[in-house]
Amino acid sequence: MNFIPASLRDYVLPVLYGIVIVALLPLLAGYIVLLERKVMADMQARLGPMRVGPHGLLQPIADALKLLIKEDIIPQKADRFLFWCAPVLSVTMALLAYAAIPFGPVFQIADLNVGLLFILAISSLGIYGIVLGGWASNSHYSLLGALRSAAQLVSYETAAGLAVVSGLMLAGSLSMKDIVQAQSDQGVWFAFVVPVGFFIYLVASIAETNRAPFDLPEAESELVAGYMTEYSGFRWALYFLGEYANMVVVASIATTLFLGGWLRPFARYQDHLFGTSIELLDLLPTLLFLGAGVYCFWLAPRQPVQIQKIVMALVGGLCVALALGMTGALFAPDTVRTGIHGAFWFLAKVFVYIYAFLWIRFTFPRYRFDQLMRLGWRFLIPLALVNVIVVGATIVLQQNWDWRHPMLTAIVTTAIMLCVAAFLARDRAPEVEPLEVGEGD
């Protein structure tokens, strides 16, 4: 790095990280879509996309190409400026949030001391992409989708914010790095100390990313495609990218705050295998990639077409190369090793969280809008409020009475919270009279 002038040295790495993230994120989002389709297919006993590439592995690239060359339609009576602005806004805000996300102890663009709040603030700006886009399309479906989205996001942001507070109180810092450090110091992931807070955040984050069962802003059976009904081609792709980027953002917040960030499972357990500096658990990523690679090589000759055989073998080669990389990183200097392995564990947790999203999506039917609001305001928000108070009280008690066992906190708070939840759950929705459609103007 010596060839870079000293005044710029602080900027070079963050800019590089930024470029890597902006370049890789669309690809990642595309493959999350593929994952979603494959998981959906699996849960419905189908095969899913199989044609483009072996097992549909090149499907996202084909989709992106198709969207790029599609005709770009702007409705005649649309507000052209806002129609153009809205999808861009949606993607920009989603990408901006990555500035503060720590993908590992090294791989982070900026460690802000209000990092978590910054991410929450920026991702709350993403609503404008949806709301303005829905309004600018000048269509009833879009407008209704936008209205639903605004109401839903404002409601569930409160619950999510309060759930985040319960984790923050344990960490005692807003900096993403310090939050993970606190979990490393206390030797436990905060999801185990405040499981109720984690649960509330999980539910609220599904609602915030407009995913099923809370996907009312884009409910196909009612609103065609909600706020993006009038969008086509690449603008539509931008909305999609924004949505999936946002999923990764909320998953990253949950990972950092509740699931130990880049920490390996059992981070405190050290065995120094065979007297070296290698831990047994650090070999897990290698084995995982190696297994995937061998599986790909096994599949390759069984593909129907010659080109698919080649692509499958290439994928297998990539997996083996990754496995070698993970092994090589074990012998590298400490920063490189923790950086690479941290990024692996962080992304692994993010994907587990996203898998939970998909699982929930294909398991639960969609909520009705009044049920959604009821769940938010009459169950989640009171629960989150009590959770904050109970967790705060246990922290104070711990400090005064020298209770040093986090699991005790977890058991006591969860027991209290379950009672509160049972109390709140008694509140049943009243029979709702069907709304008069077209009332007013």
Binding site: V114, F118, V131, L132, A150, E157
Partner: protein, 167 residues
């Protein structure tokens, strides 16, 4: 660099505030109000008050303005487009504007010697202004803060009661 950022954000805030008042389309006005609020947040950031910066965005832009836009969308827009935006009392308004300008000018003239802001204070060098804000709100000014919160709570309950007659 600091002053460049300051003038950039100030110009942005003022320009979007002017546009907010003059736009005919109410949604465009809301968008420019959002820009003005974001520019103000930028000034907070330039003053190294990052907590205020974030809170400004979360509360005003991410919370209050979303509700504004939400309500605006329910309003009949075609009607509001044809409404007269400015009323015609030019004579009175000119006099009032002149009086206001005179007041401002007098105020600036009297205090012209104290306009120099002096060297930068120590507080800005502190790395964690989240803690200092918490200290100010929850220790030094606990009672006024609580009174203000209760005032807001009363207003909120009042609004709910008025909106929902048959409780």
């Amino acid at each position: 660099m600091d002053s460049v950022l300051f003038y950039f954000f100030s110009a942005l805030a003022i320009a979007s505030a002017v546009l907010m008042v003059t736009r005919r389309n109410i949604v465009h006005s809301a968008v420019f109000l959002i820009t003005a609020l974001l520019a103000t947040a930028g000034i907070f950031l330039q003053l190294q008050a990052e907590f205020l910066f974030v809170v400004q965005i979360i509360l005003y832009v991410g919370g209050i303005m979303v509700l504004f836009v939400f309500v605006i969308m329910l309003v009949n827009l075609d009607l509001s487009l044809h409404l007269m935006q400015f009323n015609r009392m030019k004579f009175v308004s000119t006099i009032l504007a002149a009086v206001l300008a005179g007041q401002l000018f007098t105020a600036f003239w009297i205090t012209r010697n104290s306009l120099n802001l002096g060297p930068r204070g120590e507080a800005m060098a502190q790395p964690h202004n989240t803690e200092s804000i918490a200290q100010a709100l929850f220790q030094n000014y606990m009672l006024p803060f609580e009174i203000a919160s209760i005032l807001l709570l009363v207003a909120m309950i009042g609004a709910v009661v008025m909106a929902k007659r048959k409780v």
